[in-house]
């Protein structure tokens, strides 16, 4: 169906804004929280690598050229699929970016399955695609937490280093990017807002209430740090396609630690699937 575009219920769920598919109202334990989720891309810096400020973005470094540019056509209407096991909202942003937002019955997180690529190469501008989640008016005091290889959560403060005084940060975006191997979290001391990922990604919280994770990149210039190749991987004659999951959790701080720990184990160490074909159709009784 096309409407109403909602998932779940008031215990955990969300509703998409009719006029703008980037905007949601998220429901958690009867509380209403505004949420914005969108895809954007940073243009990769192109340079001749002769000076630090002329370095190109590449395999070793992420160096954006300006602010991120939204990629979604917000006129395209999302579609809703609903049934007894799962409810989904399918959203196609453009030819190379799409997403399924999903809530399984009784689950404690909202899943965002992104699919990005092949990133076009017609304009020869490198593109570094991010998924950005934002809760307006959330006060995390320029502080966020990222994990260290799935273990301890480390405190990160915008434009700050614990071991030396950062006088001037000319790389305002990159200088605040950290490796996110399993999760990134914000807290206003009462609640916690986290996004868990299924693979290591770069990410940050550049403004209060905001989490961004880089999902895919395609670049046409080498950064001259050693690999001597542009980060321009292709298959079947076009750029690569990447598909993955982000799991969004929100709730009271004391409850969320447990939710996140169990969710991370369940999603990162998933059951293994083994298939056995039956050569002739049998009943359950015979099989048993």
């Amino acid at each position: 169906t096309e409407s109403p575009l909602d998932l779940g219920d008031r215990r955990l769920g969300l509703t998409i804004d009719d006029s703008d598919p980037r905007r949601f109202v998220m429901y958690v334990d009867n509380e209403e929280i505004p949420l914005i989720q969108e895809f954007l891309y940073y243009k990769s810096m192109v340079g001749d690598n002769s000076k630090d400020y002329k370095r190109a973005s590449g395999a070793y470094i992420f160096r954006p050229d300006g602010s991120p540019i939204p990629v979604c056509d917000n006129q395209k209407k999302p579609q809703r699929v609903s049934g007894p096991v799962v409810q989904e909202i399918h959203r196609e942003c453009n030819e190379w970016v799409s997403q399924v937002i999903r809530l399984y019955n009784g689950d404690d997180n909202i899943e965002f399955e992104w699919l990005v690529g092949p990133i076009p190469n017609d304009d020869k501008i490198g593109k570094e695609v991010i998924s950005r989640f934002r809760i307006p008016f959330y006060k995390n005091n320029q502080t966020f937490y990222t994990d260290s290889n799935g273990r301890e959560m480390l405190k990160r403060i915008l434009n700050y280093r614990p071991s030396f005084t950062l006088r001037e940060n000319v790389e305002n975006v990159t200088g605040n990017y950290y490796p996110i191997t399993s999760r990134i979290s914000l807290t206003d001391q009462q609640t916690r807002f986290s996004v868990l990922n299924d693979r290591s990604q770069g990410g940050s919280s550049l403004q209060d209430g905001e989490i961004e994770l880089m999902v895919h990149r395609r670049i046409f210039v080498d950064d001259a740090f050693g690999v001597d190749e542009a980060l321009n991987e292709t298959a079947f004659g076009v750029g690569l396609v990447a598909r993955g999951h982000h799991y969004l959790t929100y709730g009271p701080v004391d409850k969320l630690f447990e939710v996140e720990r169990l969710l991370a184990q369940r999603k990162l160490i998933r059951p293994q699937y083994f298939f056995t074909k039956k050569h002739s159709v049998v009943s359950y009784k015979d099989l048993k």
Binding site: E233, A235, R266, F274, V281
Partner: protein
């Protein structure tokens, strides 16, 4: 041991800083993918041999397969079999619930029976058109069969019998369920 060692060795190689960060040259990346794929295939044989000794429904290890392309919603067994057994092994030390998604051709109904003989609630979800357009994807699947696999035992397995249903019996059952619901 000889079936498992290649994956151990390959995982050792994958600890190299270029393999972790993706700063290896393209031909090296391709070689890493080749090594991992071959090592996983050998390990699959070992896993299936062990499972065939444990699990009902897996008569020989030759019948047992994994689906490496589930990440693009492609799986030869679920797409083309009239009937198959899905065995889920839980590597965690506590019970977990898994939501299973299997690629299937559309307009096809399936029944799923759990180890206690219970017929499970299933849902058929259409694949987004962007998935169908993934370059290199060779699949007849346009939908996914989704069901909830409850309480997989810690460090243990559960097997599910999945059978393609004749469309008439599926429709009759659906009508009966709907009429029971409306009553």
């Amino acid at each position: 041991e000889p079936k498992i060692t290649p994956l151990r060795e390959t995982m050792g190689m994958m600890q190299h800083h270029d393999a972790i960060t993706g700063t290896e040259k393209q031909h090296v990346a391709n070689d890493y993918a080749r090594l991992l794929s071959e090592a996983m295939e050998e390990c699959e044989e070992a896993s299936c041999t062990i499972l065939s000794g444990l699990a009902a429904g897996i008569e020989t290890s030759a019948d047992c397969k994994t689906c490496q392309l589930l990440n693009i919603s492609q799986c030869e067994v679920s797409e083309h079999s009239e009937q198959f057994v899905l065995t889920l092994y839980n590597p965690l030390s506590r019970p977990v619930t898994e939501f299973v998604r299997l690629p299937i051709p559309s307009e096809t109904a399936y029944s799923v029976v759990d180890p206690s003989g219970q017929r499970l609630t299933v849902q058929f979800v259409p694949l987004p058109s962007a998935v169908l357009r993934i370059p290199g994807r060779k699949s007849s699947a346009t939908s996914e069969l989704v069901f909830q696999a409850d309480d997989l035992p810690p460090l243990g397995y559960k097997s599910y019998l999945i059978t393609k249903e004749p469309s008439s019996s599926y429709l009759n059952r659906l009508r009966a369920e709907r009429s029971a619901q409306s009553e």
